[in-house]
Symmetry: C2
Subunit: 335 residues, 2 copies
DNA sequence: ATTCGAATTTAGATCGTTCTAAATACCGGG
DNA sequence: CCCGGTATTTAGAACGATCTAAATTCGAAT
C-alpha cells in the first residue's frame, strides 16, 4: 500500500535536532548554522525525505500550486499558451492544476470550486463563452488571485492577451498592399471578447484602408465548419477577393472548402489567418497569418500571477503582446 | 489578502452539532440522520463552505489528485491524449496536475518529486526519451500507483497505448493495394519505444506484403525536420513510390518539403501518416493516415489508474486501442 | 569570571480534516 | 418502566508541516 512517508520528525531524530530546525533547513532559512544545515541536508538525502506540501499549506497558506482553466485543449493555440504557463511555473517550482471548461460556464464554476478546495494560490482563467461578468468579482471575494488570459469579462483585472485589433489591421493592410479590395471576414459564432475584438479590428481596418466590406460570415470554431462556409463566402453579393479569418483553424478549413468548391485558395481568393499556428506552414498553399506568440502570452500570464501573488495590492495590469505578420503563399500579389 | 476559510467547526457551531457530524455529512456517510443532514447541508450552502482537500488528505491519504507527465505539449497527439485523461478524471471528481518533461529524464525526475510532495494519488507517465528502465520500479517503491501511456519502459506495468505494429501493417497493405511497391519509412531520430514499435511494424509489414524496402530516413520530430528530409528521400538508391511516416506531423512536413523539391505529393509519391491528427484533413493533398484515437487512449489510461487506485493488488493490464485506416488524397490509386 | 547581544535552536500550539472508540438517543417488546 | 439493540452523534487524538515566543549557546567585551 501507500508507503509511509518520511517526516520532519524522523529526520530531526536522526540528526539529533528538533523538528523546527529541520523545517528551517527545508525552507533554506539563513537562521540555521552551516554545519547543522549540512548534516541535516545529508540525512534528508539519505532518508529520501519529501516535504509534504499539503501539510505545509495547511499551516502557512501557500500551496505552490496554481490552477489554469482553458475552454479547449484541441485548439493548439491554447495548448501553446498552456506550455508557456507551465514553463514559467515549473521554473518557479510551482505546479499547474489543469482543467478544461469545454466553454461551459457551469463546468467552469465546478472547476473553480475544486480549485478552491485544493487551496490553489491563484488562477489563470480563460473565461468560457457566456461567463457572467460578475465572476471575476466573485473570485476576488474568495480571496483568490486571478489573471484572465486571451479573453476577458467584467471590469479590468490582470490580463494577458494579444492585440487582435492591430493584428487584424496588419492583415488588412497586407491584403490591400497585395492588391485586394473586397475583403470578407470569416468569424466564429460563439460570442466571446475574442470575437468582438477581431470584429472591431475588422471594422477599424475597413475605415483605415481602401478595402471594401464584402461581408461577414459565421462558422463553428472547427475546420469542418469553416469548410462548409466556403460556399456562403463565394455566394456573397460582392464577390470577395480576400478573406480574413478569425484564426488559422478556420482559415485552413476554409481553404479546404474552397478547393472543394472549385476555387483555388491563393490564386482565386487570398486567405489570411490569425495566430500563426504550426499548422499554417503545412497547408497548401501555405497560410499567411499573424503570429500572436501563444507561449509568450502564457509566460506573461504566469508572470502576472506571480507578481499578484507577491503583491496583492498592486493595480491591475494588462499585458498585451504585439502581433507579427507572417507572409506565406495564401496571399500572393494580385496583377 | 487571503479570505479566511469557512471551516467544519464553524458549520458545526451554526448547525448545533459536532464537527464530526458535519464531516460525515460532507462525506455523504449514511450514518447521519436525514433531518440532520438536510439542516447541515443547507447551512453549508448558506455559508459557502468549501472542503479543504489538503487537510483531508493529510488525515486520510487521498488527495483526489493525479499527476500526468507528457514529453511535449505541442504535438497535438499528446494534448488530445491529455484531454481524454482530463475528461475521465473530471467526471470522477479528480483533478489533474500537469507537467511537461520536455523529453528530459532529469526534469522528469524533478516533476515526480514535486508530485510526491503534493501527495498525488497516482501518476500517468509518458516516459521521456532516455528514461531509465528502473524508473517504474522506483516509483512503485514510493508506493505511487503508476500507469504508463503511449511509451513504455522497464518490465510491464499498467499501460495504455496504441497498436502501432498493426497500424503500420494497415498502412502498408493499403499502399500495396493502391499499387505502390517501393516503400520508404520516415522515422524519428529519438529512441523511444514508440519508434522501435513502428520500425518493427515496418519490418513485419515488408515481410507480409509484396512491398520492397526502399530505405529508412530519420528526421527530428518537427515538421521542419521532415521537410528537410525530403531531399534525402528522393535521393534513395531505390526511388520510393510511397513513404510511410512516423506520424502526421512528419508526413505533413514531408509533403511540404517534397513540393519544394518539385515533387508533387500524392501524384508523384504517396504519403501516409500515423495518428490522424486534425491536421491530416487540412493539408493538400489531404493526408491518408491511421487513426489512433488519442483521447480514447487518454480515457483508457485514466480508467486504468482509477482501477489501480481502487485495487493496488491487481495484475498489470495492457490496454491497447486498435488502429483505423483513414484514406484521403495523399495515397491515390496508381495506374 | 560575568554580562550582553547576537546567533541558533526549540517546545508547543496550530492549520482543517478524518479517525477511533465511546457515548448518547431512540425504538419496540416484555 | 426497563432492556437490548440499532441508529446517531461526539470528544479528542491524529496527520505533517510552520509559526510564535521563548530558551539556549556562543563569543567578545568588560
Amino acid at each position: 500500500m501507500q508507503q509511509k512517508r518520511v517526516t520532519l520528525e524522523e529526520i530531526a531524530q536522526a540528526a539529533g535536532v528538533s523538528r523546527a530546525t529541520v523545517s528551517l533547513v527545508v525552507r533554506k532559512s539563513p537562521l540555521v548554522a552551516d554545519h547543522t544545515r549540512a548534516r541535516v541536508e545529508q540525512i534528508m538525502a539519505e532518508m529520501d525525505y519529501v516535504r509534504d506540501i499539503g501539510a505545509a499549506r495547511l499551516r502557512n497558506r501557500s500551496s505552490r500550486t496554481i490552477g489554469v482553466i482553458v475552454p479547449n485543449l484541441v485548439n493548439s493555440f491554447f495548448t501553446e499558451f498552456l506550455s508557456g504557463v507551465e514553463e514559467v511555473m515549473a521554473r518557479d517550482d510551482r505546479v499547474v492544476l489543469l482543467a478544461n471548461s469545454h466553454d461551459d460556464p457551469r463546468r467552469q464554476d465546478e472547476i473553480l470550486q475544486r480549485f478552491r478546495g485544493h487551496g490553489v494560490d491563484g488562477v489563470i482563467l480563460c473565461p468560457a463563452v457566456g461567463t457572467a461578468p460578475e465572476l471575476p468579482g466573485r473570485i476576488a471575494g474568495w480571496g483568490m488571485p486571478l489573471v484572465q488570459a486571451l479573453r476577458e469579462v467584467g471590469p479590468p483585472t490582470d490580463f494577458a492577451g494579444a492585440d487582435y485589433i492591430s493584428a487584424v489591421s496588419l492583415a488588412m493592410r497586407h491584403l490591400v498592399a497585395q492588391g485586394c479590395r473586397r475583403v470578407a471576414f470569416l468569424s466564429v459564432s460563439a460570442r466571446t471578447s475574442a470575437r468582438e475584438e477581431r470584429l472591431a479590428g475588422y471594422a477599424r481596418a475597413l475605415a483605415e484602408t481602401a478595402a471594401e466590406d464584402a461581408g461577414i460570415v459565421e462558422a463553428d470554431l472547427t475546420w469542418e465548419g469553416a469548410a462548409r462556409s466556403a460556399a456562403q463566402i463565394l455566394a456573397l453579393d460582392t464577390r470577395p477577393d480576400a478573406v480574413l479569418c478569425f484564426n488559422d483553424i478556420l482559415a485552413a478549413g476554409l481553404m479546404a472548402g474552397l478547393r472543394q468548391a472549385g476555387c483555388e485558395p491563393g490564386r482565386d481568393l487570398a486567405v489570411v489567418g490569425l495566430d500563426d499556428l504550426p499548422l499554417a506552414a503545412l497547408t497548401y498553399p501555405t497560410l499567411t497569418s499573424v503570429a500572436m506568440d501563444a507561449p509568450g502570452i502564457g509566460r506573461k500570464a504566469a508572470r502576472l500571477l506571480a507578481r499578484r501573488l507577491a503583491d496583492s495590492g498592486a493595480p491591475p495590469e494588462q499585458d498585451i503582446v504585439a502581433p507579427r505578420l507572417v507572409v506565406r503563399g495564401s496571399s500572393p500579389k494580385r496583377v
